[in-house]
């Protein structure tokens, strides 16, 4: 795709409505208010059931709720899936140079923004269609008879509701991004995962074997129903660790700590001002340079592959893999599926439900997922730094523009760029690999509430960033002069 082709569409893209930007400085209180309003609205919408949906429906996104947000069976069942997918597609196209855009130029930024929004609309429709016509969301036959219409009409009604829900999410996200704190996308992810963790700790409902699902009720159940002799055997300890959720608890706490540690670890490059003598500064290069962003991309890519596999399987094409519910159990789709806690790889547990999966197959699955995560982490991190203006060239320009230089080096962007080239690519690769390894560990151990390692990683990282944002906002409130300094309007 040439960017000239894209540019010729721009006038049409610009017809898409946008949320008005605030024309004045929005005080912190007001920002907070908008964020809360949208959050409440999000929870309200997630409790609005799709009109005409049969209870027999299957949730295509079930395993990926952690980062697609939304709620199955509700009007916002698509969640942020369309936004994330549209963004991945466009960023990959730009990152790979298929669409040539220079994102340091405002006019190209604008084209990027307009195209991205247009793509979200396309993805809303594209992700709704297989949900309904792939047979995952089924129309309610009782309602059809009551209304005296065919199932086709009900399907169309479902489609319209899904599309409306998807578009509402898009605009709610925009309201938070422009008028609130952070962005809607991150707000919805954090909301969903926090909810899953709370439920994972306190849920007293029982599973098929009569054991409570939540961590605390489960421990109470174990204390009531098992004695010390039963627990202190090797199988009892294993039961406690895996099914008792102790491993999940440990990995949840561990991820929290490691992510915060990694996010705050920086390689600092000393700077001095070229004109003001004695003015010193440091340029912090984050160790996890591209942060956990690559991981959403890897997992979202896997999610999309799995959905295609599932749709094909339900159409009777089994060469890519056979599914049990929404989980692949054989074929290439099994090996490509993301690991999600001990239940997806501990041979004794996997084979309880599916004895046909051999131990070496499980081994290959773990190996492949590890390679995908680490390699994917590195590749996407490199893409990221390049397309998002964190590459050596852009950073060098920024530092020079702010009047700073590295002491002992000439004040020249090219020199600075060469200096940064020694650090940034290495930090990017190491950071991508570290995040990949961390995700592997989290995915193997599982997390409380079964939120998937990636989801938790994302949440902690978003919350840490939100905390930094809040601190900045408050500083600006207290010292209005800082506002100009920190680059606010």
């Amino acid at each position: 795709m040439e960017d000239t082709l894209l540019r010729s569409f721009q006038p049409y893209f610009e017809r898409l409505p946008t949320v008005a930007r605030p024309k004045r400085y929005v005080p912190f209180k007001e920002k907070f208010m908008w964020t809360v309003i949208i959050l409440v609205l999000y929870f309200v919408l997630s409790n609005v059931p799709l009109f005409g949906l049969s209870p027999q429906s299957i949730d295509l996104f079930e395993q990926y709720r952690a980062f697609f947000a939304g709620k199955s069976g509700s009007i916002i069942a698509l969640g942020i899936g369309p936004i994330v997918t549209a963004s991945i597609i466009l960023q990959l196209l730009v990152g790979a140079g298929v669409v040539r855009l220079d994102l340091s130029k405002p006019e190209d930024q604008r084209l990027f923004q307009d195209t991205q929004k247009f793509l979200v609309f396309i993805m809303v429709v594209l992700e709704s269609l297989p949900q309904i016509y792939g047979g995952f969301m089924q129309p309610d036959p009782a309602l059809a008879t009551k209304l005296g219409v065919g199932l086709g009409v009900i399907r169309l009604m479902l489609l319209i509701q899904l599309v409306i829900g998807g578009i509402l999410i898009l605009y709610m996200d925009e309201v938070v991004s422009k008028w609130g704190i952070g962005s809607g996308v991150s707000l919805f992810i954090v909301a969903g995962i926090s909810q899953a963790i709370i439920t994972g700790v306190f849920n007293w409902k029982v599973d098929t074997r009569g054991i409570p699902i939540g961590l605390v009720p489960k421990w109470a159940w174990i204390a009531q129903n098992m004695n010390a002799q039963q627990i202190l055997t090797s199988s009892g300890i294993k039961f406690l660790l895996v099914e008792g959720g102790i491993l999940a608890l440990i990995s949840t706490v561990l991820i929290f700590l490691i992510v915060i540690y990694a996010e705050s670890t920086r390689v600092e490059i000393p700077l001095s001002h070229s004109l003001v003598r004695g003015a010193r500064g440091k340029f912090p290069l984050k160790l996890v340079y591209a942060s956990v962003l690559p991981m959403i991309f890897v997992r979202a890519l896997q999610a999309n592959i799995q959905m295609i596999g599932l749709i094909l399987y339900r159409k009777g094409i089994e060469i890519f893999g056979v599914y049990d519910g929404t989980r692949p159990i054989s074929g290439i789709m099994y090996y490509l599926s993301p690991l999600r806690g001990p239940f997806t790889w501990m041979p004794s547990i996997v084979q309880r439900a599916h004895p046909e999966i051999t131990t070496w197959q499980i081994g290959v699955h773990i190996l492949i997922d590890t390679v995908i995560l680490i390699a994917g982490g590195i590749i996407f991190a490199i893409f990221w730094t390049e397309t998002s203006g964190m590459g050596p060239k852009t950073v060098a320009r920024q530092i020079t523009r702010s009047g700073m230089q590295i002491p002992g080096f000439r004040r020249d962007p090219a020199v600075l760029e060469r200096f940064l080239k020694r650090y940034i690519p290495k930090v990017t690769v190491i950071g991508g690999a570290i995040i990949g390894i961390l995700t592997v560990i989290a995915s193997l151990l599982g997390t409380i509430g079964n939120t998937s390692g990636t989801g938790l990683l994302l949440t902690v990282s978003i919350m840490y960033k939100l905390y930094e944002d809040l601190a900045k906002e408050q500083a600006m409130e207290m010292h209005p002069v800082l506002r100009k300094f920190l680059g606010a309007e």
Partner: protein, 60 residues
């Protein structure tokens, strides 16, 4: 010091990896945030009312 970097990084990180350039965006049609909230509520009430009318909500 060296605040230049933060400016490009902040919107990126807080939006979970989605790049946005709202400051350069422009459109012929502008909607106020209030109307988005009202529209969402109207749709929510409408769909719930439809469900309730046909006794599909609350489902036990």
């Amino acid at each position: 010091m060296a605040k230049g970097k933060k400016k490009t990084q902040a919107p990126l990180m807080s939006s979970a990896g989605i790049m946005r350039y709202y400051e350069v965006e422009d459109s012929a049609i502008k909607v106020s945030p209030k109307s988005i909230v009202i529209l969402s509520l109207v749709i929510a009430v409408l769909v719930i009312a439809l469900n309730a009318y046909y006794q599909l909500w609350p489902r036990v």
